[in-house]
């Protein structure tokens, strides 16, 4: 089914918790293509209303709540937001064999705070990401029942996800960076995934999904606002930036770039622990950043609001430029605290 769907216009590729999708698609019409290890799936969305959840890995197909449960069983997933034209959306509805829950003739309730209209042709594709002015209701129980198609589970052997080979990070397409290819190729630090074990993924929860259930999501304590995502996206576009992550003590909140997040987070947390140990010993003001340089490149950690940034760069990066950005971010944060 996934291959039959219209392609749509890709507006952003990223790694984030599944809940990010539900809280950032209030004005989005299109498909969110999800890749988890060797499987792929999609979520069809119209203005915050999730219409179809689907995931396929080998011969195993998950529909409706089964697919949603599987998405939610991962702390972060890789996905691609693809915007649909009305025609493409109609075509997608036909392929999924469902009716339009919000016909275009019916005026749609807009969020309380109007968002500025943005040009389609704007270079910064992050502007296309739908914006919310307040946390949108999570898809607890859609008004339009999510089509649940029972797949005969008995003859299909369910393989635990732990047995699924880990998808190489390089296979995940990433938003192109403005860097010159020569510079990027010069010294991209390679995360030694073999040396640092990747957190095993929970087994695929395949359970009967015919009976709709009340769904409880853990509320997001650190959902990034649109300006934050824009800032992170702009930093990611700088020459020499391989990846940038926003993380807190519990988890990764956002990742842009072509790396495996778990090994990077492990290193970032180790560095953060170091700064926490030394900060009480020095009387030099607030912590701005720590940069660890190895022959392949740099790892930089810096505070960012209530969270932290972890930036992976090539060796050719202009550290002075990054340093200025981080200092500016901190000044903004300090000014915000004073207000």
């Amino acid at each position: 089914m996934i291959n039959q769907l219209p392609e749509g216009k890709s507006i952003s590729r990223m790694q984030a918790p599944p809940q990010w999708i539900f809280t950032h698609t209030v004005r989005f019409v299109g498909v969110v293509r999800v890749v988890i290890q060797d499987g792929e799936g999609f979520i069809l969305i119209k203005k915050g209303k999730t219409l179809v959840y689907y995931f396929k890995h080998g011969r195993i197909e998950l529909h409706g709540h089964g697919a949603l449960d599987y998405f939610n069983s991962h702390p972060t997933i890789e996905f691609n937001l693809c915007k649909y034209t009305p025609e493409e959306f109609s075509q997608a509805l036909k392929i999924c064999d469902i009716e339009d829950p919000i016909p275009d003739t019916v005026p749609v309730q807009e969020p309380a705070r109007p968002e500025p209209v943005r040009k389609e042709s704007e270079e910064d594709s992050f502007d296309d990401i739908p914006v919310i002015s307040r946390p949108a209701p999570l898809p607890v129980k859609p008004e339009q029942p999510v089509p649940v198609i029972e797949t005969p589970a008995a003859p299909v052997p369910v393989t635990p996800a732990t047995a699924i080979p880990v998808i190489p990070a390089a296979a995940v397409p990433v938003k192109p960076v403005a860097a010159t290819p020569e510079k990027q190729a010069a010294a991209v630090p390679v995360m030694p995934s073999a040396a640092i074990p990747v957190k095993p993924v929970a087994a695929v929860p395949v359970k009967p999904s015919a009976v709709p259930q009340e769904r409880v999501f853990v509320p997001q304590t650190a959902v990034l606002e649109d300006p934050d995502i824009k800032i992170i996206g702009q930093i990611k576009k700088l020459n020499g930036i391989v990846a940038i992550s926003v993380f807190n003590n519990d988890r990764n909140i956002l990742l842009m770039g072509d790396v495996e997040i778990e090994p990077l987070l492990k290193i970032a947390r180790t560095m953060l622990a170091t700064t926490n140990k030394i900060t009480p010993h020095v009387d030099w003001g607030s912590f701005v950043h720590m940069t660890l340089q190895i022959p392949e490149g740099n790892v930089i950690i810096a505070p960012y609001h209530e969270t932290h940034l972890c930036i992976l760069t090539t060796r050719t990066i202009n550290i002075g430029h990054i340093r200025r950005i981080l200092r500016d971010l901190q000044q903004e944060r300090n000014q915000g605290d004073m207000l």
């Binding site: 630090p189 030694p192 040396a195 290193i267 010993h281 701005v288 940069t291 340089q293 190895i294 901190q330």
Partner: protein, 115 residues
Amino acid sequence: MLKQILNKFLILNDVQAALVIQENGEIIESMKSGILIKDELQEAIAIIMLDSRKTAAQFGNAPLSMVFVEFSESFLILGPVMEEFYLVIIAKNSANIGQITYEMKKNQDAIVSLL
């Protein structure tokens, strides 16, 4: 002689201290200007040295090239010179980092020859 090399750093704008320090925190030689290297700071430097080497090892045993820790008023640059000896520069954040790192690379061999 080591003092003379360390003095090359101290004459750079806003550099407050240049030290050669062992991984266990023992200062081999230092040159300072308007700053006291208290035990607490020495302890902090030792933590950075040990932790950073361990962290770099997570990148497939990559050797540590340099560590840079910046606070709103001052920063510290630490570079390994040989085995367990490090060159540490402490400066106000208005100092020129490029100049400091250039001098660190330029003088590394001379420092090694004196250790």
